[in-house]
Amino acid sequence: MKYVDEYREPEAARKLVAAIHATATTTHRVMEVCGGQTHTLIRYGIDELLEGAVELIHGPGCPVCVTPLEKIDRALAIAACPGVTLASFGDMLRVPGSRGDLLAAKARGADVRVVYSPTDALALAETHPDRQVVFFAVGFETTAPANAMAVWLAARKNVTNFSILTSHVRVPPAIRAIMDDPDSRVQGFIAPGHVCSIMGYREYEELAREYRVPFVVAGFEPLDLLDGLLALVRLLEDHEADTRNRYGRSVRRDGNTEARKIMDEVFEISDMTWRGIGPIPASGLRLTARYAAFDAERRFCVENVRASEPSACIAGAVLQGKRKPHDCAAFGGACTPEHPLGAPMVSTEGACAAYFAFRKVEG
């Protein structure tokens, strides 16, 4: 596939690995925020190839992983309401709430569907006017415009049996929380390429100035990440707290203005609690007053269940980059992708699932 295969070429990767080792005079501690990038780094063993030059600290960039338990319980309660069809992305159905997951609710008879796109959920509402279709809308800034478009279209088409349960998160406030943590060990960041395809990278330029750490926007293939890491190591070696864009084929400085227009009309910034991390100011998105009629939490008054995470699970520390998945006593034993204790073992972008898939022997 064009724009994929050429970025996986082993000989080119070898050259970039050598260039990183030749540039680094010490081990630089850098965080890749996005779970998709974590997956590539672990799958191709890039973290091991760069040992001595770069220590990769995996960030919280897995929306499925950070969706609060309370939201999942809310989704479970809404799915149990008569006449409701609850739709979401596949991973969301397997994330454990405090009383099981959405797949288990489906097994008990709830109408729970997997959709590929939020507009598929809207189409379900249009073809089933007798059902209340609720889309469990999770995601970072990459996904927000798609979810916004589903609501925008529902309003234009007057689809009254469609609503969304939102659990949207924003990357820059999470980076702020990581850097404000006195225990933070992060010296530089690989910024998330697809979030930046929507948002651009001006926010990261501000963060670089404020926290005096460099940022490099990178893509998701092995060569993209190695090229981004080389640029980041160079900035770190030169003590430059600057921002570079190494995913120029998709990312422009101002991002995608068309997408941001609809996103800003439908959503506004709100405080948000991240599963495993806690509350982060201004780190979420909620529907604006104009679109409040599409808010599933207003449409369905369901009880608010409070529950605690399994005590053996260290997902919070993993999501903050303080611990590695195999540091957890439950990893690969009590907690596997088949029977996950914590959300990072569920999502293909969760650090625990990536380590389980590609590092089982060591784990």
């Binding site: 991973d91 798609a146 478009m149 929507i198």
Partner: protein, 86 residues
């Protein structure tokens, strides 16, 4: 979650409400994609697709940057080796 897959636009349809839809081919598989966030896109161009939406149009010149850089590394390696290099 933020998975984005590059594909070639094979059909563009502009409809009511300013919505642009189309078909995008990913290594032989053709899927319906909402192209409203890259409204200027034309047939034959590549877009990055995320949950059924195009989020960017791929810039071919920028796409070559890493390979241009690798060529530079290759030339430097040859210069560094008086034997002409391995």
């Amino acid at each position: 979650m933020c998975l984005g897959v590059p594909g070639r636009v094979v059909e563009v349809t502009r409809s009511e409400l300013g919505i642009v839809t189309g078909k995008v081919e990913f290594g032989g598989i053709v899927k319906d994609v909402n192209l409203s966030y890259t409204p200027e896109v034309e047939r034959g161009q590549y877009v990055v697709v995320h949950v059924g939406f195009s989020i960017s149009t791929l810039d071919e010149q920028e796409a070559r940057r890493v390979f241009d850089y690798l060529e530079e590394i290759g030339e430097l390696e040859q210069l560094a080796s008086p034997e002409g290099g391995p």
